[in-house]
Amino acid sequence: MSPLELTGSLGIVGYGLAAIGPGIGVGLIFAAVIEGTARQPEARGAMLSTAFIGFALTEALAIIGIALAFVFG
């Protein structure tokens, strides 16, 4: 076996690709919260609670991805 020969499940590569979108999405959500907090610090609580709902929805995609990577892996 040569060192560069890879074996394993292609589902893992697919999951890596699938995690890009939610990663960017979660980053955007909290970037917006940080910016909003910098502009208006007293609104932080209200922004955080909305942000956590959005975060949960966005991360659901990555989580469904890891479940499917195991299912089809």
Binding site: S49, F52, A56, I63, I64, I66
Partner: protein, 263 residues
């Protein structure tokens, strides 16, 4: 054997995988009593002892221990329960405290030197916790709005025109009733599972490179991997605390969205 830049392939090395999480039972004949169960029971005892001692010894000028307990309590009470649920948050504080401390301790078993295995890396524990949360937020919602009223409250967001209902109602039902417990449990489980797997890869791989390999480059790489695994442990500590916080925060969020008055 062809080599490039001194690296040789590792013969006989089995990378850690899902099988690394299938642990044998501690006592023969009790198949359910494995390391996860032991840690879970131990964590319940520890948490109960911690909060009972904290609640019993209160002084006007707090000692260091009391300060720790009060900080932990006030953190969950103020920045999770009060800020998220708002009015009428007091009745949910015991649930949130219990969830937070249980998940935190069970995650921290993953970096405790004698156990080195997060209990929540077993998916059954995460399913159980998310099931408890699911029953709780649906229960308080149904108690407040009634069965039909709760379904209406959950599936019809305010301000949506009537012709959108056929599209919105199934989506909202799916997202609020079915997807929520799944993601809540799998978020906790997947983070702990992946973190433990990462530690296993670095520690077992580093050990194999250092001790079972002939090449000098491999030995140096093994030492580097073992040193880097310490940084992974630091990352794990952060992720474990963060996941306990997120789980509790989302629980409060779900309770709040099930009971909130529409503005």
């Amino acid at each position: 054997m062809s080599t490039w830049s001194g690296l040789t392939p590792l013969e006989g090395y089995e990378p850690p995988g899902v099988e690394s999480f299938h642990l044998p039972p501690i006592v023969e004949g009790l198949p359910w009593f494995d390391k996860y169960m032991l840690q879970g029971l131990l964590s319940v005892l520890l948490i109960m002892a911690f909060w009972v001692i904290m609640a019993r010894k209160t002084a006007l000028v707090p000692s260091k221990g009391q300060f720790l307990g009060e900080t932990a309590y006030m953190f969950v009470r103020n920045s999770i329960a009060r800020d998220t649920i708002g009015h009428d948050f007091r009745r949910y504080v015991p649930l949130l405290i219990a969830l937070f401390s249980f998940i935190l301790v069970n995650n921290l078993w993953g970096i405790f030197p004698l156990t080195l295995l997060p209990t929540t890396a077993h998916v059954g524990w995460a399913y159980g916790l998310a099931g408890l949360v699911w029953v709780t937020y649906n229960g308080v919602g149904i108690r407040k709005w009634g069965g039909i009223g709760y379904l209406k409250h959950v599936t019809i967001p305010p301000g949506v025109p009537t012709w959108m209902y056929p599209l919105v109602i199934p989506l909202e039902f799916l997202s609020n009733i079915i997807v929520r417990p799944v993601t809540l449990s799998l978020r906790l489980f997947a983070n702990m599972f992946a973190g433990h797997l990462l530690v296993l890869v670095f520690v077992l791989g580093g050990e194999y490179l250092l001790l079972h390999s002939e090449s000098l480059v491999n030995k140096v790489a093994g030492v580097a991997a073992l040193l880097f695994s310490l940084a992974i442990f630091g990352l794990e500590l952060f992720v474990q605390c963060l996941q306990a916080y997120i789980f509790t925060m989302l629980t409060a969020q779900y309770i709040s969205s099930a009971t909130a008055e529409e503005h």
